[in-house]
Structures are given as structure tokens and as C-alpha cells.
Amino acid sequence: MRGNEKWYKLDNAGKMYPSITTTEMSTVFRLSFILKEIIDRERLQMALDKVIERFPYFRVNMHRGMFWYYFDYTEQKLMIEQEEYFPCMFLKYKKKNFPFRVVYYENRLAVEFSHSITDGTGALVFLKTLLCEYVEPDITKREVIEMVKNIGEAEVHGEWENSFEKFYKKGAPFPDKNKRALQLNLKRVPKGEYYAIKGILESEDIKKCSERYKCTITQFLLALYFEALIEYFKNGKKRKGRIVINTLVNLRRIFPSDTMKNFFGSIAPEIDTRLGEYTREEIIGYIKNYMKLMINEKNFLKAISRNVSSEKNIFVRLMPLLLKNLFMPVLYNVVGEAGYTTSFSSMGDIKFPNDVIDKIDHAEFFPPPSYGNIIRTGIIASNGKTTIIFGKLTKNTTLEMLFFRKIRKENIRVKIETNIQ
């Protein structure tokens, strides 16, 4: 969509999402900032009108091609909406709507993006830029900081690139196939509902605690999550087996990429409860070694190879979109989600210019709802507060109870908020 061309192809990860999207499995995630003041609707709309011009790759509608979906530029104006639905709800982006929405409620500013267009990092850059523009419209007064775009400048080539294709190495082997993992078989809520249990922690407390265990915050939280899952399955009727946490990784940290499209991979640490009991030190040791082994360029080349080469297959390419829409959801369920018990996604510590940080209380990241992994976890830190959100399609809170009680046992203060009435 540069020069004369006003359309662009979906990236390799994004291609799958429109085919598996349903009203229940929206493939939409939410990133939000809780401000210290009530949002001014008019000011926010003005900021959005300016910011959207800096992100032409987001100013699009999705259309159907014969074989694939594609994004086409639109002159439509994106209007901000007051929050009225559950978070991460279905976006009718295949019907001439934007593949994302900007919503606000009291002091919450949020963006909800369909995964077909970008991942958490792309959404975060957009939201940070929007927030900075909302708080301080005068760009000359603002401190320059990473992951905030200068709206006075044009976008750069790297932001458009399909990094999966760029880093694809022909002939690279595929990763091993997923084996079936234990599943959280919980009673589902009706279609169109999505619940979240949010824990707010002091980042300093959790940092000190993870230092005590000689690991990173992510590794420590992942270990506690494993412990909670082990205890959950131990108390339930479910037999023993593999507990696998699909842990998402931002590939921009491994490959040199500035893309604003999807560019993420995942690793799948697992604990097999058939092998006996595990101590916390054992779990942390395993996670540390597993991450060292798996988070590297060569390992992710395998995942990129699988994504890109299966899509380069002439039979897949020539298959009409209608058939792709029929097969993809089944494949995704069987090959994808059945191999994981739950998922864990950490956005890291979000930095802001000094004049903006004072206006923010904390950040939130709501993972997309899913049939297969009925509970998913999203973690984000900002302004000294870490937020852990369990996004779910069930009202059962046993897993969160076990997890947050473990955090409290480490003497870390937790505040719980939820949209379960």
C-alpha cells in the first residue's frame, strides 16, 4: 500500500486469524492505560485524527480475495467509542470496518486490535503514540522515547515489512509437532461474554522476590503459574499429564525488525505431573534452562519456516478462500490449541516520557478469548505497577485464587479487580 498501490497482503501469522474468527473466538486483544483523570472525549478524538495519519497501515478495511483476505486503504474516519461491551469482543472488520477500535471508559483508554493486522507490540506503539498526543499535543515539548512514533514524520519502510518472510530461511526444518496437553475443562459462559480477573502488584515487590529466586520476573510468574496449575489438576478429577503453557515471545527482540505487523513466536515450557512432585526451585531451574535453550534465532527460524513454507505451498495458495475458512478452524483447534493448557503473554515494562508517566496509574493487557485455552494470561508493567490479567470464557476462579494466594504467600501485596458481577 505504498506509492500507487492502496492495498497490502496480510502477514503470515495474520492470514490465519480471519478464517478462525467467530463471535465467541474474536481473536481480538485489548491494551489499555488507566489514567489518573477522566478521559476527555473530544480531546481524544482530536488526538486520534492526527495519530491515525502516522499509521497508514492501520487505516484499512479487510476485503475478501479469491484465495486470501487483504487490507485496502480507507478514507473512513475512525471514531472513538465509549466502552459498552465486554473486553476483546468480536470486531466486524470483514464488513468495511476498521480492524481495531479505540474505546474509553471513565479513566481507561484502550485499543482493541484484531490479531489479523498486528500483534501486541504494534498495538502498544499505536496506543503509546495516541496517549502521548492526548496528554501533550505539542510535540516539541515532549521527550523522545522508544516505541512512540513522531506524528510529524512519515512512516519508514521497515514498519510495512512482513518480517516472517524477510527472515524465512528456505530449507530450514520445522519444529516438532505439539502433543496433546491437559485442558482446563470448565463451564463456559454464554457467547459474547468475556471475563477478566486483574491483579495489580507493586513491580518493586515482585522484582525483589524474583531476585531472591535468582530469576527474572517473567520466569518467577511463570513458575507460580505452573504451581497453581499443578495444584488445580491435583485437586480436580483430571488425570495426571502434561501441563503446557504457551508462552508468547516478541520476535523483534531476536531479529532486527521494526515491523508494525505481526511478528511473534512462542515457546511451550511443560511440566509432566506423571513424573512426580516438583519444588519451586526445580520449576524455576527448568524454566530458566528451557528459555535459554529455546529463545534464540535458530530455534525461531524453525517456527518461521513452518509458517511461511506451508503458506508458500501451491495447493494451499490455490485453495479457494471458502475452503480455507472451512478447514482452518479445525486445524487450529487440533494442531494449535490442543497442545497447550493455557497461554502466558508478557508485554514487559512500558516506558513513557516524564510528562506523560505522571498522568498514568497503570497499564492493562487483556489476552484474546479462545475456545481451546479457556483461560489466558496477560502481563504488563508500567509506572511501578505490574498488572496480571486472567482473560477467560468461564466464571470459575479457582486457578486465579491458587495463583494469587501464592503471590500473597511471598508477601507481595495484590489488589484484585474484575468485571464478574
Partner: protein, 236 residues
């Protein structure tokens, strides 16, 4: 600030139960605490968008059906042929089928409605045809079999709906088909020979049950004990 004494976590001050363990939280009436709702009372997007589309489809179909019925009734006055009567009866049945299948009511109401519609529709066909014998002998009992079978399959689906859908939906469908073939066979044999006898449905049932066992066996994996016995008894 309100705390859950069991979990030890701080909760929103407007909560009277812990969101994690549901333990009651005493109302401390702390005037300084925030009472703002963090999330709005959310609407269900599925309900609103689905209902809009459903109503549009339903009323369009109803208008078409009733227009056709009016035209056909007019034709019936003039020509009075069997074929026009068949059409009228089919379109009236179509109206009820659509009403019950489009999801206005709960599943059991819809299923009962569809069954009664089927019974009346088939009866009207037999009356138009001047042959009501097959209706009481075959049609009505088979409709009853389908109804009982569907209720059973639905209950089975409800019991397993939180399990893996890729496995349990085909299993429930196969169970439905096995019982349907058995029931239909029994009705036909009883109507023909006045005795309850299983004939062709024996093969479909064995095939269906074997497939169910294979699917469930692969999914749950055969227990170690059975594996051991099989290996011992059938080793080559």
C-alpha cells in the same frame, strides 16, 4: 480498603464477596474508599448483533412464505388439485419449522415444536393422499423415535459440552445415528411382521459403536492394564 481474610488480597470496596474465593467481605463503610465501577455493566455484543440479523432473516422469510401461501390458496379455489394442496401444506409447515429452528425459544421447546410440526405435516400429506394407514403404522412411531433419540443425544451433549468438541460432537452424533437406525428398524419390523426384531440395524449399530469406541479409545488412550492384557493374550 477491603481485604479478603482468606486470600489476603485487596478487593474493590464495592464488593461484598471476594472475587477469587467468594468469601463474604464485611462492609466497613470506609467513606474514603473508592466506590467507582472499574468496568461498565457490559452488553453482550453477540446477543445484540445476532438478534438483529436473525429477526431480519426471519421476517423476510415469513413475508415470502405467506405471500406464496396466499397465491397458492387463490390457485386452489380455481383448480383444486392435489399438488397445490401439497404445496400449501409444505409452506405452512416451513413457516413453523423456521419459527422453531431460528432460535427464538429454548432447545427443548424448539425440538417439541419441530416434532409436533412434523407429525401434523405428515398427517396432512396422508389426508391429502387419502391413505392414513402408513401414518399411524410408520410415520408417527418414527417421529417419536427421532424425538426421544434427539432428547437423549442433547442430554449427552450437555454432559460433555465442556470437553473437547472435536471428539465429543462426532461421538454424540454417532450415538444419535445408532439409536435412530435401531429404532427405525424396530418400527418397520413391528409394522410389517408384528414382532420386535433387529435386522439391518445390527450392522449399522456395530459399525457405529466400533467407531465410537475407537474415537474414545484413541482420545483417552487405552489404560495400561488393558494394554498389558491385550499384549499378553494376543502376542505373536
Amino acid at each position: 480498603m477491603a481485604y479478603c481474610p482468606k486470600c489476603g488480597v485487596e478487593v474493590e470496596s464495592n464488593r461484598n464477596r471476594c472475587p477469587l474465593c467468594k468469601f463474604p467481605i464485611p462492609n466497613l463503610k470506609d467513606d474514603n474508599s473508592e466506590t467507582k465501577q472499574r468496568f461498565p455493566a457490559a452488553k453482550n455484543i453477540y446477543e445484540t448483533s445476532f438478534k438483529k440479523v436473525r429477526n431480519r432473516v426471519y421476517y423476510s422469510l415469513v413475508i415470502i412464505i405467506f405471500s406464496v401461501i396466499v397465491v397458492l390458496t387463490g390457485m386452489n379455489f380455481k383448480y383444486e388439485t392435489k399438488i397445490v394442496n401439497y404445496f400449501i401444506s409444505s409452506f405452512v409447515a416451513a413457516f413453523f419449522y423456521i419459527t422453531f429452528c431460528i432460535g427464538f425459544f429454548k432447545f427443548m421447546v424448539n425440538l417439541t415444536g419441530v416434532t409436533i410440526t412434523s407429525a401434523l405435516f405428515v398427517y396432512s400429506i396422508s389426508v391429502i393422499n387419502n391413505a392414513t394407514g402408513w401414518y399411524s403404522k410408520f410415520a408417527l412411531p418414527i417421529i417419536a423415535v427421532v424425538f426421544i433419540d434427539a432428547v437423549f443425544a442433547y442430554k449427552l451433549y450437555l454432559m460433555n459440552k465442556n470437553k473437547n468438541r472435536i471428539i465429543y460432537i462426532p461421538v454424540v452424533v454417532l450415538i444419535f445415528l445408532v439409536f435412530l437406525s435401531l429404532g427405525t428398524d424396530l418400527v418397520i419390523q413391528f409394522a410389517k411382521n408384528e414382532e420386535l426384531k433387529i435386522t439391518w440395524s445390527l450392522f449399522t449399530s456395530i459399525g457405529g459403536l466400533a467407531t465410537i469406541l475407537i474415537i474414545l479409545g484413541i482420545y483417552h488412550k487405552t489404560p495400561e492394564k488393558i494394554k498389558y492384557t491385550l499384549k499378553k493374550r494376543f502376542h505373536i
